[in-house]
């Protein structure tokens, strides 16, 4: 066992552990957003740890470079996914309010709608634009 082996031996199970808790969360959380929080992000951590562990087993830095690229890629794409999913989940009414302490987006939307409604009722303003 060399030092690199030890590094791998630590990093990889740790990563796997994150992945495991993430997927457990994905199964156990009652809400969609909860499941997303619980899984997507620990997954990223898990992946980075495992890739780091794998990198230690490679002979040189050059062959490890692609692993780094994958990690960077994961960092770049994960938020995009998370945001898209969040927006869609919300717009589809899948965010259940009873699991929310507060929902300021709903408040703002209601406010905006009310304003637009007033605009529609007011003939002068409707013709104005």
């Amino acid at each position: 066992m060399t030092a690199t082996d030890w590094a791998t031996a630590v990093l990889m199970p740790l990563g796997a552990l994150f992945a495991l808790t993430g997927t457990i969360g994905m199964v156990r959380f009652p809400t969609l957003l909860g499941r997303m929080h619980a899984s997507t992000k620990p997954d990223t951590v898990a992946l980075v740890l495992i890739l780091a562990g794998a990198a230690f087993q490679l002979p040189d830095l050059r062959s490890a470079l692609p692993l780094a690229l994958v990690a960077v890629f994961q960092f770049m794409t994960m938020p995009v996914l998370a945001q898209t999913l969040g927006r869609v989940a919300y717009s589809r009414g899948m965010v259940v309010s009873e699991h929310l302490v507060t929902d300021e987006l709903a408040d703002d939307l209601a406010k905006r709608e009310a304003e637009e409604g007033r605009a529609a009722e007011d003939p002068r303003r409707a013709e104005a634009p």
Partner: protein, 196 residues
């Protein structure tokens, strides 16, 4: 919205994306020979054209120290919040509640706003639901939020993240504008806080 109308500059704006795709291509083939790179660049450009990806205006600065700080912060945050999340997952996931808060941002740079939004989404326990660019408001879902008292904490962490991004990547103009807005909002923000 963009000042980069000149073709050459527009091309320059697209370069990072194409470059990125080229690198991925080379990795895919496991080969960084010139031929592969040229082919990758061509494929990348093709994909770019086909997908009509938006080109990024490179109106950024890069402050290495600040960036390093930011990365460190995010990494630590990521790790800790993941552990935190794991704890909730294993103990009582059914009781965990969240909140969606509206946070008015101080910067008006689209790019910075997007970066903040992404940065928030990267970290466990928070993620952007909606970004109102015109109003400069970001709606963030946070978890776990036990009660109303956790809400200001979430708001504050969003604002802190924003500041770190602006200071790491913003141009001098961006920072100036950010600070002006911060001053303006300092008072009004407090009032708003009370109103809620």
């Amino acid at each position: 919205m963009s000042a980069y109308r000149a073709p050459a500059l527009r091309l320059l704006g697209r370069l990072p994306t194409v470059l990125w795709l080229t690198v991925m291509w080379a990795v895919l083939w496991g080969d960084f020979s010139p031929g592969t790179l040229v082919a990758g660049a061509m494929v990348g450009a093709g994909c770019y054209a086909a997908a009509k990806l938006p080109h990024l205006p490179v109106r950024l600065r890069f402050r290495p120290l600040r960036v390093a700080g930011l990365v460190g912060h995010i990494a630590l945050d990521l790790l800790l919040s993941s552990v935190h999340m794991a704890y909730h997952t294993l103990l009582h996931p059914a009781r965990v509640r969240g909140a969606i808060v509206a946070v008015p941002l101080r910067t008006d740079s689209d790019l910075l706003m997007a970066m903040v939004s992404a940065g928030l989404s990267l970290v466990t326990g928070s993620q952007t639901i909606e970004l109102d660019r015109e109003g400069g408001v970001i709606y963030v879902h946070g978890i776990p939020i036990h009660d109303e008292s956790d809400v200001p904490k979430l708001r504050r962490s969003v604002l802190r993240t924003e500041e770190m991004y602006v200071r790491a990547f913003g141009t001098r103009d961006d920072i100036a504008q950010f600070e002006a807005a911060e001053r303006e909002l300092a008072g009004a923000g407090a009032a708003a806080e009370e109103e809620r």
